[in-house]
């Protein structure tokens, strides 16, 4: 049962708002990653999802984990995925996406 007085407290609303926005971002980017037929778009959406998760960590007062998330997942893993995707042939990707 949600205490109404607590619900209308602006601090609670701010936390809730931040979490809701980030949750929508993470879910949206993840779904787009899976649904996207273009590999490069999928990789970029994945980077968006990683960035949103980093922001979620920061909003939970775990800023070190957030920074490490940026450093490792976006800076290293994400760029590596982009690099690998760039090395695939574009025509092949298009054929697969249409077929």
């Amino acid at each position: 049962m949600i205490d109404l007085a607590q619900f209308y407290d602006i601090r609670f609303l701010m936390d809730l708002g931040a979490f809701s926005i980030l949750a929508v971002l993470i879910l949206g980017f993840s779904i787009l990653t899976v649904w996207s037929s273009n590999m490069v778009h999928a990789a970029l959406y994945l980077l968006g999802a990683f960035a949103s998760v980093a922001m979620l960590y920061v909003s939970l007062n775990a800023s070190f984990v957030g920074v490490v998330q940026v450093l490792v997942y976006i800076g290293a893993v994400g760029v590596l995925i982009l690099f690998a995707v760039m090395l695939t042939r574009r025509t092949l990707v298009e054929e697969e996406s249409h077929g």
Binding site: I10, R11, M14, N38, V40, H41, L44, L47, S63, F64, V67, V68, V70, L71, I74, G75, A76, G78, V79, L80, L82, F83, M86
Partner: protein, 348 residues
């Protein structure tokens, strides 16, 4: 005074909302100041380059020194037609300059821009004084390749693609020695907070305490900024203009301007990590802004040195650049790390 006490009371009562408001205001001020300073930097570069090449540089718009030349350039870029090439990946093409500028501006939030002395106490001018700001800056610096990659990939142009390739390869090669140098500094300063790192250089600059690290960080920084001896991503003679070949109008303006914002922020990072930040002898009459004066003098010297290097050195080949990064700078940066740990332990 009443207003001030009311604000302090509000800050004590609602620290979160107060922090949010202060953060937004500070970010807005910071963004505008950085944009103006970066514009001045473009002018400075053209002027110093002109002097070094024995020509005038801009000297028509805005009086004898051509100070307003960049304003004229900006108006020109705003009014040019915005062309999106056929076959371009439109959404990525449109977003690339925005991502490039946004990831760059993220760095600014954690960098202290000097300090002022109030009541005999140094107050650093920084928006987010985090415990891990050095690590944060290092992490965000590695995001810059993404904007360039998006621009290069989406243009549907072989030269742009090659530029993006080179950018990512170079970024991966130089991120590692740069990170090791930042960690060496943090080991010596016993902190990852940039303000604490500057305070640790009260007696001796880290450029003196670990000269090898300073040189490696400087080279890696020039590479990260994509400036002359290492500007293979937009080498005019080889790949036209690299990832921004297809861009025109204000989108090109954003990509071009982003390089100068990075140059400014990278130079600030170099000053903070290795050149003692705002530390220096107190200047008597104007003592309260003497840290600012030292900070901006050092910054100006670094910026002019970067322009000087750009004008005087020829460009490397891309294979030489990656070789230098992986085979020379990475082992040397590890040597520097061992040195930093040894010296840090000895003086601890």
């Amino acid at each position: 005074m009443e207003l001030l006490s009311a604000i302090t009371e509000f800050a004590a009562r609602e620290p979160k909302i107060y922090g949010l408001i202060i953060g937004l205001v500070a970010a807005a001020i910071l963004a505008s100041v950085i944009n103006v300073v970066a514009m001045l930097l473009v002018w400075l570069e053209r002027k110093v380059m002109g002097d070094l090449q024995a020509r005038y540089g801009p000297n028509r718009v805005g009086g004898r020194w051509g100070v307003l030349q960049l304003g004229a350039d900006a108006i020109k870029l705003f009014t040019k037609e915005d062309i999106i090439p056929r076959g371009a990946d439109k959404s990525v093409y449109v977003w690339a300059p925005i991502v490039a500028v946004a990831t760059t501006m993220l760095i600014a939030g954690a960098l202290p821009f000097g300090a002022v002395i109030i009541d005999g106490r140094e107050v650093p001018l920084v928006v987010a004084n985090m415990d891990i700001s050095a690590l944060y800056v290092e992490a965000v610096l590695s995001l810059m390749a993404i904007g360039a990659f998006m621009a290069g990939y989406s243009s549907n142009n072989k030269y742009s693609m090659l530029g993006a390739f080179r950018g990512v390869a170079r970024m991966i090669a130089y991120e590692v020695p740069m990170g090791v140098c930042v960690i060496s500094v943090a080991v010596m300063a016993h902190s990852l907070n940039l303000v604490e790192i500057v305070n640790a250089q009260q007696n001796i600059w880290f450029a003196v305490a670990q000269p090898l690290g300073f040189v490696i960080f400087g080279i890696a920084l020039i590479t990260d900024l994509g400036r002359m001896p290492f500007d293979q991503t937009e080498a005019e003679e080889e790949i036209i203009a690299g990832y921004n070949t297809e861009y025109s109008g204000i989108r090109f303006g954003l990509l071009y301007f982003q390089e100068y914002i990075v140059m400014l922020l990278g130079s600030i990072l170099l000053v903070l990590l290795f050149l003692g930040g705002w530390k220096g002898p107190v200047i008597p009459v104007i003592s309260f802004i003497s840290p600012m004066i030292w900070f901006f003098m050092k910054l100006l010297i670094v910026l002019v040195a970067l322009i000087w290097i750009r004008v005087s050195l020829p460009r490397f080949r891309i294979d030489q650049v990656t070789d230098l990064g992986w085979k020379i700078l990475l082992p040397l940066s590890l040597v520097n790390f061992v040195w930093a740990v040894a010296v840090g332990l000895y003086f601890a």
